[in-house]
């Protein structure tokens, strides 16, 4: 049976890709950010995921406003990155797991989440950068991946409650997969930032720290917000928190915090990292 070993929430700011390419990890500006990942690398070496399910948002690489799915699930054997227009290096492709993707799609649709399915899907920095942070090295591809894109671009966005329920449905789908694989769930983006409008540069440390706390112990508190309340508190792009809420929903067992980091600013963003362990229901039954 597939086993959800935990979840990771991480910022996906594009300039991180350039910093990696230039080897700036120990540069004074970047060090407080990159040093946060040592704890994740140690944990990943111990829990050994085979699969990464990645909740993220596309920024106009694969999807345009002509056809904008609310939820889209990748069902490809491989996912390519491409030029996004502003000069971050293009990553090598990431392996997929089409059979596992179709299992998740079948379970989601049976569960009344009528997702868009993508057999051909470019993945942008919101997908590639978190994986590069977790598994550094341009050719390092130790996990197969399943991208799940959430629309955070064009309102109306799915509500936090809906994203949380999507995550829960994905968690149930993973739990019911009959292959012996370890699954890590990622939620990318955020935390607070706003690129556009007269409020550009808005950051809300107090709200972010509250969210990082609630994501561990009380994710339903986040699911009770309206989308626009999150925009107000976290900024127009801080609404990428929806990806984190979905990730947390997918952790169906007993969740505990393994590691976290929070640093302001990376580019215009309050950067954050949260690593959550998940003891599955099956493990909890065995232990009792």
């Amino acid at each position: 049976m597939a086993r959800i070993i935990g979840g990771v929430g991480t910022t996906h700011v594009p300039s991180i890709g350039s910093a990696i390419a230039k080897g700036l990890q120990q540069d004074p500006y970047w060090k407080p950010f990159f040093d946060g990942f040592a704890g994740v690398h140690k944990w990943l070496a111990a829990v050994k995921p085979d699969i990464a399910v990645v909740f993220y948002n596309d920024h106009g690489l694969n999807f345009f406003l002509d056809k904008m799915p609310t939820f889209a699930v990748g069902a490809a054997g491989e996912y390519k990155n491409a030029d996004e227009g502003w000069g971050i290096p293009v990553s090598r492709p990431f392996p997929g797991d089409a059979a596992f993707s179709w299992h998740i799609i079948e379970q989601l649709i049976a569960d009344e989440f009528d997702v868009t399915t993508c057999q051909d899907m470019l993945v942008d920095h919101a997908f590639t950068i978190p994986l590069a942070l977790l598994w550094p090295g341009a050719d390092n591809r130790p996990v197969r991946t399943i991208p799940i894109a959430i629309n955070t671009v064009q309102h109306p966005l799915p509500s936090p409650a809906r994203c949380y329920k999507l995550g829960q449905a994905v968690g149930r789908a993973i739990d019911s997969y009959q292959q012996d694989v370890n699954v890590l769930v990622l939620g990318t983006g955020g935390l607070s930032h706003q690129l556009d409008g007269k409020r550009a540069g808005f950051i809300n440390k107090e709200f972010d720290l509250w969210c990082l706390d609630r994501l561990v112990s009380d994710p339903a508190a986040l699911a009770r917000f309206s989308t626009l309340k999150i925009v107000e508190e976290a900024g127009t792009q801080g609404v990428e928190l929806l990806n984190w809420i979905a990730m947390r929903g997918a952790l169906t067992g007993r969740v505990s915090k393994v590691h976290s980091n929070y640093h302001i600013p990376i580019s215009n963003t309050a950067s954050a990292l949260l690593v959550l362990g998940n003891e599955t229901q099956a493990e909890l039954r065995k232990a009792s």
Binding site: E84, Q154, H155, D196, A200, I203, I264, P265, S267
Partner: protein
């Protein structure tokens, strides 16, 4: 009742409809050849995508707030900004009427 957030434009259906031509042009800048074509002949490139007069003026002025008012979405506008070598601190400084240095200092101060 509409949820108003000061200094913030929520990119909704009405704006997505108004901004389609501008955003479509910016989406094309994922391709290096298209970026070069824009630089060679800006007017001709704007013609090809059918930009409205408001959108053309905003692009000509290199003015982000005007582009947003014309329906531009920042994720697509960032691709246009990239052509001019501008990053999101440059965009933030322009929109808030600050120098880039002052804008960066404001970001730093949010961490304290």
């Amino acid at each position: 009742m509409k949820h108003e957030i000061p200094g913030t434009v929520v990119f909704d259906g009405a704006l997505a409809q108004r901004g389609l031509a501008l955003n479509k042009m910016c989406f094309s800048f994922n391709d290096a050849e298209n970026r070069a074509a824009f630089l060679r002949d800006e007017d001709g490139y704007c013609d090809k995508y059918g930009l409205t007069a408001e959108q053309r003026a905003a692009v000509k002025h290199r003015n982000v707030l005007e582009m947003i008012a014309a329906g531009g979405n920042v994720y697509y506008l960032a691709k246009l900004a990239g052509i001019f070598g501008l990053n999101v601190q440059d965009l933030g400084a322009q929109q808030t009427g600050m120098t880039v240095e002052a804008f960066k200092a404001k970001l730093q101060s949010a961490g304290r």
